[in-house]
């Protein structure tokens, strides 16, 4: 029952698991490789600072996409406001470290907590909305929270907030990997549980779920809160890692759109789909940015990528590998015919 509920054909699942497994193994072992060993093996990049940054960013998006998947993929509420949780987590940790001089690791614990409490408060009214209304209202949450913080003096206002610099690429790398692991593990536990079935029922037909006894409000608010806590955790790690946060770098709507695209492309509602989606898409995004920070052209690239993905693969790449369709011209033509006017 469980395996089938994940709607992932066995062959594709195995392939993904192997790919993700190898990727994870490499990722975990790589930093342990000494510079000498790496050079001997002809892999000088492995201990490079740039490599660490990219790998940490990828792990961050694995966390974000997996967290989004819990509310968007499993519960069917496509949130455009998860970035608010990221930003709140970042500012939660940031303020405690920068203003109150807490030690980072203790301050980090506050990040998921703050995000979760916020999700509880806004989730109760917002999760009564559906479709466009839910999408735009959540979009507004991210923008509005960012704006409010931008106006509050003690939070650095528009200047931003500076945290004392901690130079440890390895620490942040492992923390992000840890966050990603927690996100994937949470998803797995949810998928196997009664709670997970309740979420799926809500996604597939909310009224039918209610009349068979699913406490829909409690379930969807819980899913929102869990997603928020995981997203907030990633935000908290980001704050110290980047040691500078402002409205632009922790509340960008583009982050939210990216996490959605990752989850949807990889296969929303599946365990490993968002992981695969995040790894592939973030590497593409990094390549577009050319290893530097986001430029105008990488933004155009992301826009084109979005358009291409949405137009040609509205059902996610899972279709291609699921044996239901092959990536072929006839498939693309059919997809276009089915969804266009």
């Amino acid at each position: 029952m469980i395996a089938r509920l994940r709607r992932m054909p066995v062959t594709w699942r195995r392939t993904t698991m192997v790919v993700v497994g190898i990727a994870l193994l490499l990722v975990v072992l790589a930093p342990l490789t000494s510079t000498d060993a790496a050079q001997q093996a002809g892999l000088p990049l492995l201990t490079d600072k740039l490599w660490f940054r990219i790998a940490t960013t990828v792990a961050m998006f694995v966390t974000l996409a997996s967290a989004w998947n819990i509310i968007g993929g499993l519960t069917g509420y496509a949130s455009f406001g998860n970035v608010a949780f990221f930003g709140l987590g970042a500012y939660g940790t940031g303020v405690l470290v920068s203003n109150l001089h807490w030690s980072f690791l203790i301050a980090l614990l506050a990040a998921p907590l703050i995000a979760a409490i916020f999700a509880l408060v806004v989730g109760i009214p917002l999760l009564r909305l559906r479709g466009h209304y839910f999408a735009v209202a959540t979009l507004g949450v991210g923008v509005a929270v960012g704006e409010v913080i931008n106006n509050v003096g003690p939070l650095g206002a528009s200047t931003g907030l500076f945290l004392p610099i901690m130079r440890s690429d390895r620490l942040f790398f492992y923390l992000m990997i840890g966050a990603a692991g927690v996100a994937v593990l949470s998803t797995r536990l949810i998928l196997k549980s009664r709670f997970g079935y309740g979420l799926l029922a809500i996604r597939e037909n909310e009224e039918a779920a209610a009349v068979i006894g699913v406490n829909t409000t409690f379930y969807k608010v819980s899913a929102f809160v869990i997603a928020a806590a995981l997203t907030g955790l990633a935000g908290g790690i980001f704050a110290q890692w980047n040691s500078f946060i402002n409205q632009e770098n922790v509340f960008p709507v583009t982050y939210n759109v990216e996490m959605i695209l990752m989850a949807v492309l990889g296969g929303a509602g599946t365990l490993l789909g968002p992981v695969a989606g995040a790894i592939v898409l973030e590497l593409i995004i990094q390549a577009l940015a050319g290893g530097g920070s986001a430029s105008v052209y990488s933004q155009i690239g992301l826009g084109v990528l979005l358009a291409v993905c949405v137009i040609f693969i509205p059902r996610g790449v899972i279709d291609f590998f699921g044996g239901q369709s092959r990536l072929s011209l006839s498939y693309l033509r059919r997809t276009l015919r089915e969804t266009s006017a």
Partner: protein, 259 residues
């Protein structure tokens, strides 16, 4: 004490009264048929009982306790299961998984584990005749089978009262016969039933009592045969002219015995 007592139930949409002061009771073990022309408020009534709609007036009592304003999932766990006229399966799940969802969430006592729910689902599928198709994805089911699945999912909740919303509509004669058998089996297992139906054969065939709604108000109530002969009911369904003709024909037929 009645199992379910509806008193002065009122429901408005905008300014329109969908239900106006509807009162009736459901006794343990009976099969109550609710009939009435399209738009009479039958489905609205079920939606009020199962907690999907908020009442604008009146009260609904279950076991003599008010369930007005109670959330749908809590009403479900009190032992009221229902089906939808337009079926609402969980499309990504199989027949068995759909049914197991009822057992997993809807039972009044205890929390089942998924594998236990699945075992109970198999028993229910046997009862409604879907056992062979239990591993089908629901999207492969025919319309009659989808209706069966609606019932199976509700039955898996082990309800004391089952609300059936037009489960026979669109079935052919043979399928209606099968469905009737199933309703009888459900009743024999001790579940009280309220069903909405347009097929008169069903009303006469299984119902112990019938309630007629028209424009959101009760029009007639009583044994099915009597209710269906009621002039007001025939008028509501077929128009006044037909009712007059019907009455004339009845009188015509009655004459020879008079003589």
């Amino acid at each position: 004490m009645s199992l379910l007592a509806v008193r002065d139930l009122t429901k408005r949409f905008g300014g329109v009264h969908a239900l106006a002061e509807v009162s009736f009771t459901v006794e343990k073990g009976e099969v109550l048929g609710i009939i009435g022309p399209n738009g009479a408020g039958k489905t609205t009534l079920l939606n009020c009982i199962s907690g999907l709609y908020r009442l604008d007036g009146g009260d609904i009592r279950w076991d003599d306790t008010s369930i007005r304003g109670m959330a749908a999932h809590r009403i479900a766990r009190l032992g009221i299961g229902r089906t939808f006229q337009i079926v609402r399966p969980f499309p990504s799940m199989t027949v068995r998984e759909n049914t197991a969802m009822g057992a997993l969430f809807g039972q009044p006592q205890g929390r089942l584990q998924p594998h236990e729910a699945q075992k109970q689902a198999d028993e229910v599928l046997e009862l409604v005749g879907l056992a062979e198709k239990r591993d089908f994805p629901v999207l492969r089911l025919t319309v009659p089978d989808r209706k069966r699945l609606e019932i199976a999912r509700a039955l898996a909740m082990r309800p004391r009262l089952l609300l059936l919303d037009e489960v026979m509509a669109g079935l052919n004669a043979v399928e209606v016969e099968q469905a009737l058998g199933m309703v009888r089996r459900v009743r024999e297992s001790g579940i009280t039933i309220v069903l909405i139906e347009h097929v008169m054969k069903v009303i006469v065939g299984v119902c112990t009592r019938a309630l007629v709604l028209n424009f959101g108000r009760p029009l007639a109530e009583g044994p099915p045969e009597e209710v269906l002969r009621d002039r007001r009911v025939i008028e509501a369904y077929l128009g006044e002219r037909y009712a007059r003709l019907q009455e004339a024909a009845d009188q015509e037929r009655a004459k020879p015995t008079d003589a």
